[in-house]
Each structure stands twice: as structure tokens, then as C-alpha cells.
């Protein structure tokens, strides 16, 4: 009995000992391999960089001739690391070296691997290498079963760039997965002006999500090319399309889109009116002061708030209009005018003038303060009456507010 027990303990101990030995040996082997790779990198990197900065056609002489099997990962690491950090001639040369040394072929084969992570990694590396000749194969990967592979392929196509990569990416916006559509839209937006024409041409064939994404991409790129095309979208039956088109027009900021945005202020759907009001402010369309004043009476708060903000952005004409709106019959319009005159600092600027000797400026300031008092919007005025550094201003405000000023004080 004791013998069986002793043998069992010895057997278990032996297994643990062997396992520990294997783990230690494995770790030692990995560390020595990594140390060797670091040493090898220190040797090869300066030569490869020197080649990248120069004009020599092939990288092979810099790495001692043909690529040795043991150097494969080290050279790949060096070329990929640096290709990600530069643009221009150096990046092209590093990409050419990756092709010349057979990495691009290997990654193209990797796109057919049965392991999804290998397909994803291959797609990513082809993008970093800027492998033009992999475009067709990357386009096929846009239909991969695994979303991560599709996204990495899309990212790679975005990095490779050029017209050949744009068309399939625009088509990929029709992705059934909404999250993928958003990421592809980001990639397309990063490709800037190259994608504008393709987006407009492909738009009729897109599904709704893709159309909305396309409009957002145009807003981010801010090219003047699609302005007239976007104005046509303002009559689309879908309210979200109309709203996104307004947003894009505002973001692009062409002064020519002012009249179209003013017309959109009459849209039956409030989200469209709200974005149109905001867009008018972004393009500083001074001719829209009257329609914006009318929008201050809109039944939806967002429309009123955006219209007030746009009047502020338009400048003195807009501020004058906000001032006039203090006497409007509509209580909501008056309220927005008050908020914006306060937020823009106009009220504080006028209050400052109360400390001056009598004259037209002071009269105008008093007139404004009286109107604030009449409509009952005295919160900020009371605050200034208590805290303003100028005693004359505090006294004048106290008189206008009908309260007794604290003798000699109330302010810092």
C-alpha cells in the first residue's frame, strides 16, 4: 500500500519536474531567439534604412544577397515598422522591397488561408506595403465571411489608395453590418477628394444606410464638387437624407448653398429645419437674417436654438436681429433671443456701457436693459448688479432693476 502511494507521489512529482523543465527550456529558447532577432535587427536596420534613403534599385545587396530564411521575420518587421511611419518616396521604396523579397506574394496567398486571423493579418500587411497588385484580391476579401477580415481588407484598400481601390470600397458601403458601414465610411473619408465622384455615381445603387453614410463622407471631405448635387438631395422623400444633405452643405461652407438652406427652413420635418438653420450659420449667410428670425418662432426647440446660434454667427446684422426679437410677440422667440444675447456676451458688453457718461451709447445700453427687465429676463442682470467691478455700473443696474444698490459695495 505504502509502495503504491510512494510510486504515485514520485510519478506525479516526475511529471511536474518534466513539465517545469519543458517550460523553462521553452522560455529560454524564446528569449534567446528574441535576443538573436534584436541583434540581427540592429545589424540589418541601418543597412535597410540607408537603402530606403538612397537610389539603389534593389534592397537585396543591403541584406547580403538573397533573403535568408532565418532573417525573414526580422526583415519583415523592419520594413513594415518603417513603412507605417513615412510617406512619399521612402514608403514606396519600402513597399517595393516587401514585394521584391516575396512578402507580398506570401500575404496574397495568406488571404486564402483557412485561419481567419491569418487572412486579416495578411490584408493589413498588404495595406501597409501599399501593394497595388493586391487590389483585386483585397476587393474579394471585402466579401469574406468574417467581418474583421472585411474591415482589414477595406482599411488596406484605403491605404493602397487610387481609383481602383475607391470603387469597391464605395460598393462595400452597402455592407449589411451597420458597424462595418461606419468603419468603411471613415476609411473613405480619409481618402479625401479621390472618392467624391465615385460616391455621387454609386449613390442611386446604394441602400439607405449606405446613402446616409455617403452624405456624411461628403460632409467630412468638404469638397465643393458635390454642392449642386447635395442641393438636389434636399428634395429627397427621406427626411434623414434631406437632413444629412443640409449638414453636408453647412460643413462644406459654400456661400452658394445659402438659398437652398433657407428653403430647407420651410421643410415639414423639424430635424431638417434644425440642421438647415445650423448650416446657415456655418456659412455665415447674412441674407438669411429674416428667415432665421422666423425660425426663432418654430414650434421645435432645436430649430429655435440653432437659428439663434446662427444669427449670432452671422455677426452684427444677426445680433441686431436678435435685439429686435426681444420685442417679438412670440414668447419662445423672445426667450431664444435673450439666451443668445447673453451667451454671445452682447448683454455684458452693453452693461459695460452703463458706466459711461450720458450719451447715445449709454442710452442704447439702458434701452436694452429695460427691455430685458420688461420681459422678466433679469437673472444675468442681477448677477452683474451684484458682482460688477465698476460701482457706476452697479448703481445704474440697480436703478434700472428697481432695487437699492448696496452702499459702496457688493462687488470685489
Amino acid at each position: 500500500m505504502y509502495a503504491v502511494l510512494a510510486y504515485s507521489v514520485l510519478a506525479i512529482g516526475g511529471v511536474f519536474l518534466v513539465l517545469t523543465g519543458l517550460i523553462v527550456a521553452n522560455k529560454a529558447w524564446r528569449e534567446s531567439r528574441d535576443a538573436w532577432r534584436r541583434t540581427r535587427r540592429r545589424t540589418l536596420e541601418p543597412a535597410i534604412l540607408s537603402w530606403a534613403h538612397g537610389d539603389a534599385p534593389s534592397v537585396r545587396p543591403s541584406i547580403g544577397g538573397a533573403l535568408k530564411r532565418r532573417d525573414r521575420l526580422v526583415v519583415e518587421g523592419i520594413l513594415l515598422d518603417h513603412a507605417q511611419r513615412v510617406r512619399g518616396v521612402e514608403r514606396e521604396r519600402l513597399g517595393r522591397a516587401l514585394d521584391d523579397l516575396g512578402y507580398v506574394d506570401r500575404w496574397i496567398r495568406g488571404l486564402s488561408s483557412w485561419r481567419w486571423w491569418q487572412r486579416a493579418e495578411s490584408a493589413e500587411k498588404l495595406g501597409i506595403a501599399g501593394a497595388f497588385r493586391a487590389i483585386d484580391r483585397l476587393v474579394r476579401s471585402l466579401a469574406d465571411d468574417v467581418p474583421e477580415v472585411r474591415i482589414r481588407a477595406a482599411k488596406a484598400l484605403g491605404a493602397v489608395g487610387g481609383r481602383a481601390a475607391v470603387a469597391p470600397l464605395v460598393q462595400a458601403l452597402r455592407e449589411p453590418n451597420r458597424w462595418s458601414t461606419i468603419r468603411i465610411a471613415d476609411i473613405l473619408a480619409g481618402m479625401r477628394h479621390d472618392v467624391v465622384r465615385e460616391l455621387m455615381d454609386e449613390y442611386p445603387k446604394m441602400n439607405r444606410d449606405a446613402r446616409l453614410a455617403a452624405l456624411d463622407i461628403l460632409a467630412k471631405i468638404r469638397s465643393l464638387e458635390p454642392v449642386a448635387w447635395l442641393e438636389e438631395r434636399l428634395s429627397d422623400p427621406d427626411r434623414d437624407v434631406r437632413a444629412r444633405a443640409c449638414h453636408a452643405l453647412g460643413a462644406i461652407g459654400s456661400p452658394d448653398s445659402g438659398p437652398a438652406l433657407v428653403r430647407a427652413l420651410e421643410d415639414p420635418e423639424w430635424p431638417v429645419r434644425a440642421v438647415a438653420a445650423k448650416g446657415i450659420g456655418r456659412i455665415r449667410h447674412a441674407a438669411a437674417v429674416q428667415p432665421l428670425c422666423a425660425a426663432l418662432r418654430d414650434r421645435e426647440w432645436w430649430v429655435r436654438a440653432n437659428a439663434a446660434e446662427s444669427l449670432r454667427l452671422i455677426g452684427p446684422k444677426g445680433i441686431e436681429a436678435l435685439d429686435r426679437m426681444l420685442d417679438d410677440r412670440d414668447v419662445y422667440a423672445r426667450h431664444q433671443a435673450v439666451l443668445m444675447l447673453q451667451e454671445s456676451g452682447e448683454l455684458d458688453r452693453q452693461v459695460e456701457l452703463l458706466g459711461r457718461p450720458d450719451g447715445p451709447e449709454r442710452e442704447a445700453a439702458e434701452f436694452l436693459v429695460r427691455r430685458f427687465v420688461r420681459i422678466g429676463q433679469v437673472g444675468r442682470l442681477r448677477e452683474l448688479q451684484e458682482t460688477h467691478r465698476d460701482a457706476k455700473v452697479r448703481e445704474a443696474l440697480a436703478a434700472l432693476l428697481g432695487i437699492a444698490a448696496a452702499p459702496g459695495g457688493g462687488a470685489p
Partner: protein, 129 residues
């Protein structure tokens, strides 16, 4: 024989720092690399470089802090400084230039463009390769 211009490269990303260093060494500049903001300021004080290429996001002291410290030293106040950063927003670029940088290059950068900017700044200060 003309002494080569000395360039201090401050970048916590060793790959990026090695790339810039090799690019400049290839063109005959003497290059010193600092891996963080603290070392960059120390190296600038001790070595008196003719130009500094500086990243923004670095440990201990960021690039803007390095800029301020270098500009505060009377003997270093006229050393040209090129910011090389991933931060590509308009406000970052304006902030860098307002803090006293002579130029701002966004990563990933075009190596030949960076080289031209470095050369122009050194020529302006009367230092060629």
C-alpha cells in the same frame, strides 16, 4: 573641414527616432537621440544642438514643454525646432507654432520634405551640413 551640424532628435518611439536619425546621418548631420522630454532638455543644454526635431507626445515632458524650456534658455533660444507629431489637428499645429516651433511636420511624414525643412532652417541660422 566644416564641422557637421548637430541635430537633436527627441522621440519616444524608437522606430521613428531611428528612421529620422538615419535619414539625417545619411546626409552628413551629427545626430543625438533622446527618448523622452526630460532627456531632450538635458541633451539640448549639454550638447547645444544646431537644430532640434521633437515629437509632441513623450513621457515626463511633452514636446510643448520641451519647446518652452529650450526657448527659456538664452543660449538656446534661437535654436530652430521642428515639431514632428501625429497630432494633425489645426489647433495642435497652431499651438506648436505659437509655442515657438519653427516648423511643424505631421506623422506619417514625407522624409524628403522633412529633410528640406531641416536644411532650410539650418541655412537660415547660418549652419549648413
Amino acid at each position: 573641414m566644416v564641422k557637421p551640424a548637430r541635430v537633436l532628435v527627441a522621440d519616444d518611439d524608437p522606430v521613428s527616432a531611428r528612421f529620422v536619425a538615419s535619414l539625417l546621418e545619411e546626409r552628413g548631420y551629427e545626430v543625438v537621440v533622446a527618448g523622452d522630454g526630460e532627456h531632450a532638455v538635458d541633451a539640448a543644454r549639454k550638447l547645444r544642438p544646431d537644430l532640434i526635431v521633437c515629437d509632441v507626445v513623450m513621457p515626463y515632458r511633452d514636446g510643448f514643454d520641451v519647446l518652452r524650456s529650450v526657448r527659456a534658455e538664452p543660449s538656446l533660444s534661437s535654436v530652430p525646432i521642428v515639431i514632428v507629431s501625429m497630432k494633425d489637428r489645426e489647433e495642435d499645429i497652431v499651438r506648436g507654432l505659437e509655442a515657438g516651433a519653427d516648423d511643424y511636420v505631421v506623422k506619417p511624414f514625407n522624409a524628403r520634405e522633412l529633410l528640406t525643412r531641416v536644411r532650410k532652417l539650418l541655412n537660415r541660422n547660418g549652419r549648413a551640413t
